[in-house]
Amino acid sequence: MGFVFYLISAFAVGGALAAVLLKNLVHAALAVTIAFLGMALLFLRLDAQFAGFAQILVYVGAVAILVVFAILLTKGSDVPKEGVFSKSWFAGLAIAAGVFAVLAWAVLQSAPALPNETTAPAVAVNDIGNALMSRYVLPLEIIAVLLTAALLGAVIVAMHEKERAKQG
């Protein structure tokens, strides 16, 4: 694999660890942004240009901003008094280990499924576009409907709040 892979992985895993261990919530949000960036670099290392840049555009550019706005607007940036670790950490650990085992099994199963592939397939953005419009058009439309529902829900929640504030 090489030195670069271990460097990027250290970056991503370090960011994720810092995100769960840091006390300050905004620092934790910035650390999870570093983890997202590490994932994007891994995609780029695998020559998946579209996935890598879309990861930066969406995760670092929008999701991270969303997370910090949520922290700011709900006054959650003070350090909680009872500490940041929950009481039922053992159950959490067991569930996380179970999920990891399932994912690892899935990844290891996929390697012997394609024994004839010696080089990685070169996927151009053109191919992604073609696939989205021909083979994956149904998931695309369903995601569009889901996003519209989320948008309408956000507008309704915000409007409801505004009416309550006007009356109150």
């Binding site: 555009l57 910090v68 504030a165």
Partner: protein, 394 residues
């Protein structure tokens, strides 16, 4: 034999190959890349220095006063004085500020803004990296800029900084949608995300006139939307409420002094260069000459000439238009610019399917003008100026 004008056109490429030719084979590519990066990192701050003087003199003359005129003849050495001042000023960090985040914010801004130049074709064969998904890379870097603005505002532990940062991020996110949608029209018509291919798609002339995308109805509408969104993305007047001096002290960079403030300033101007460069690549033909007869002038001169004209337009807008209020700004983005961009996608598709001829010009222009007038009038009609309603943060 290469003719003299072709040699002048490729002079930087030839210079780089000559310099790199002195090295052994395995060192040539890395050193070539380092040389190109050093040129970019050296050139754009120099342009920034010239632009600050141009802006101060320009805005000064628009406001019927002389700009700076002490430091050199007509004040052209003013950037030197500004540079020395910002290097020697004390770097004050508030005690309760978050030191690490406060330190990292200007660095992240400058790094992400400079990364955008990696995919701009600044002349024939003069692009640093010819990526297949070049436009997507550019917008990914632009999106990361917002994070640094938020970091700067939050880490200063100052109400005005935080308000300015939140306003700036809300504005940047809203107009980023408009920026992306207006560029998607160009991608649709050129058929590729690579900026080099987009310039190639414009690179032919008919009757001596160029095939720039701005000379089509959908391209012109997209250019207007792009220009508005680009001005808002870089927090530039008339969208500079986040850093308005009379409202918010200095917005998200209130608590920065000395060289960190100079880095924010540099980041803003270099972002303006970057957005102008992308705009001229997408709409104005990049390094193409405006008339077929003028193709003997080197391509990089045309690119930087278009950049210079864009800078002058930015400075002109700053001196002329009043600032937009935050809610006016957001209304404009979501209620006017976004629907126009979506309609523009439809009109571009219609253009493609109607085939060549004068009919498609008439139909597409009519749809766009009708939409512009009706959406504009429609928004204004519903503006009833009653008593204001306030919503307090809980």
């Amino acid at each position: 034999m290469i003719g003299m004008f072709e040699r002048l056109d490729q002079i930087f490429v030839l210079l780089k190959h000559w310099l790199v030719g002195y090295l052994p084979q395995s060192w040539q590519t890395p050193v070539g890349v380092v040389i190109s990066v050093a040129c970019i990192v050296g050139l754009y701050p120099a342009l920034f220095a010239v632009t600050t003087v141009l802006e101060r003199k320009g805005v000064g003359r628009i406001q019927n006063r002389l700009g700076p005129n002490r430091v050199g003849p007509y004040g052209i050495l003013q950037p030197m004085a500004d540079g020395i001042k910002s290097l020697t000023k004390e770097d004050i960090v508030p005690t309760s500020a978050d030191a690490v985040v406060h330190f990292l914010a200007p660095i992240i801004l400058v790094v992400t803004v400079f990364m955008g130049f990696a995919v701009l074709p600044m002349g024939r064969n003069m692009v640093l990296v010819d990526m297949d998904a070049g436009l997507l890379f550019y917008f990914a870097m632009g999106a990361s800029t917002e994070l640094s603005v938020f970091m700067a505002g939050w880490s200063s532990r100052n109400k005005y900084s935080l308000l300015g940062a939140m306003r700036a991020v809300a504005q940047m996110i809203s107009y980023e949608v408009a920026l992306l949608l207006s560029s998607v029209v160009i991608v649709m018509m050129a058929g590729s995300l690579s900026l080099v291919k987009i310039v190639e798609a414009q690179n032919h002339y008919s009757y001596g006139l160029p095939h720039w995308f701005i000379f089509t109805p959908w391209g012109f509408a997209a250019f207007i939307m792009y220009a508005i969104a680009g001005t808002a993305e870089t927090n530039r007047s008339p969208f500079d409420l986040p850093e308005g001096e009379s409202e918010l002290v200095a917005g998200y960079h209130t608590e920065y002094s000395g060289f960190k403030f100079a880095l924010f300033f540099l980041g803003e101007y270099v972002a303006m260069f970057s957005i102008s460069g992308l705009g001229s690549t997408l709409f104005l033909g990049g390094w193409m000459a405006p008339l077929a007869a003028l193709q003997f002038i080197p391509s990089w001169i045309w690119f930087f000439g278009k950049l210079f004209v864009s800078m002058c337009v930015f400075i002109w807008l700053r001196g002329t238009l009043p600032r937009l209020r935050q809610d006016q700004l957001m209304n404009f983005a979501w209620k006017f610019v976004l629907p126009m961009c979506l309609l523009n996608l439809f009109v571009a598709a219609l253009w493609r399917f109607m085939g060549d001829g004068w009919l498609r010009w008439v139909v597409c222009s009519a749809i766009l003008i009708l939409a512009y007038v009706s959406i504009g009038r429609g928004i204004m009609r519903r503006e009833h100026f009653g008593p204001r309603s306030y919503r307090y943060a809980e």
